[in-house]
Point group: C2
Chain length 205, copies 2
């Protein structure tokens, strides 16, 4: 049975998704290791370069890949917030709620650090911009970000479960207003107000 309120791609445990999950683990482990580590970094660099070369040799052209990424009408699998094919993404899964809002939970580690032990303000902006956009899609009218205002109420902790939530507030012609927050427990760490414009770029074909 399909959970119709799941608004983001679900990672599979095989194919590119499994390789990306392993790559995400490498990115995190490299940052945990640093130069003080006894790991054999030259060997690690060689192994990773071999993997990259293998992948590059078998990759489609950029043009073909862009067409493939944007084919179909489902959720994206490649974006830097929710994408199971993108190791930059934490990833953040998002779900639609009966009241029309959306929400997801995520725990962020060292790759997303800004101030000591805290989430980078720009990473909070990235998560909120994307979540506001998905909230618009869930509400039925979506578009591109026109203006986004972020307010930082308190430091957002790393290594703690965060809730990211958003909801569409109004639609006036092509102007869409959307709001959202990142919470640690019941405390709002960052809030966002967005003005989106109901306009979409053409898909590559």
């Amino acid at each position: 049975m399909i959970d119709r309120s799941t608004l983001t791609a679900t990672a599979g445990n095989a194919g590119v998704d499994a390789a990306v999950a392993a790559a995400r683990r490498v990115v995190n482990a490299l940052l945990h290791a640093g130069n003080g580590s006894a790991a054999e970094m030259a060997a690690v660099a060689r192994q990773l370069t071999e993997v990259a070369e293998h992948l590059e040799q078998h990759a489609p052209s950029r043009e073909d890949r862009l067409v493939d990424m944007w084919a179909g009408e489902g959720v994206t699998r490649h974006d830097p917030v929710t994408g199971p094919e993108n190791a930059v993404a934490p990833p953040l899964p998002l779900h639609g709620l009966p009241d029309g809002s959306i929400a997801g939970t995520v725990t962020l580690g060292l790759p997303y650090q800004g101030p000591p032990g805290c989430v980078h303000g720009g990473i909070s902006a990235l998560l909120l911009d994307h979540t506001l956009g998905v909230a618009n899609a869930w509400a039925g009218d979506s578009g591109m970000t026109g203006t986004l205002t972020l307010r930082y109420h308190r430091p957002t902790p790393l290594f703690a479960e965060l809730t990211v939530q958003a909801r569409q507030v109004s639609v006036d012609g092509r102007k869409i207003r959307t709001t959202g927050e990142i919470l640690a427990g019941s405390e709002v760490c960052v809030s966002a107000d967005g003005l989106f414009i109901n306009k979409h770029l053409p898909r590559p074909r």
Copy 2:
């Protein structure tokens, strides 16, 4: 001779920096490959998992690593925008200019995509939040983001050289106002206005 106007860590070609550069190449290649690729994804997942396990076995404790990351007075090497130790970072190198502003150039690929062929609005927010913060450090009074407003003037292209620039506008007690832009050629794609508060979290020790 040290270039004193370089405001971000310079990547070395050995140690963890070289391994991170290779990891960045893997992240990009995985996204280019997708599931349509003929690459042996199960083997790739196994190789990457082996690398992660080797790194994790030799990593210091999280507490020790946090102390180490924040030791010294230089620029950070781990942040998700400029950090040579962070494969999430493009990375964006930043330089101080004689007029007091700062700037850097970067070309972004598929991991940073939002709309088809364009930079994700949240990635633009990430780059600008960080660059405004570095502009404050260069000007002498810095702090944490209080409010950040982003205006999206036109789509920001992937695969094209972008200029990211910022400058401190005013300091009024603990309130710091800072502004910046992302340009493609001479066209402003995204602009940002930030209010920063001169406050710093304690470093781990």
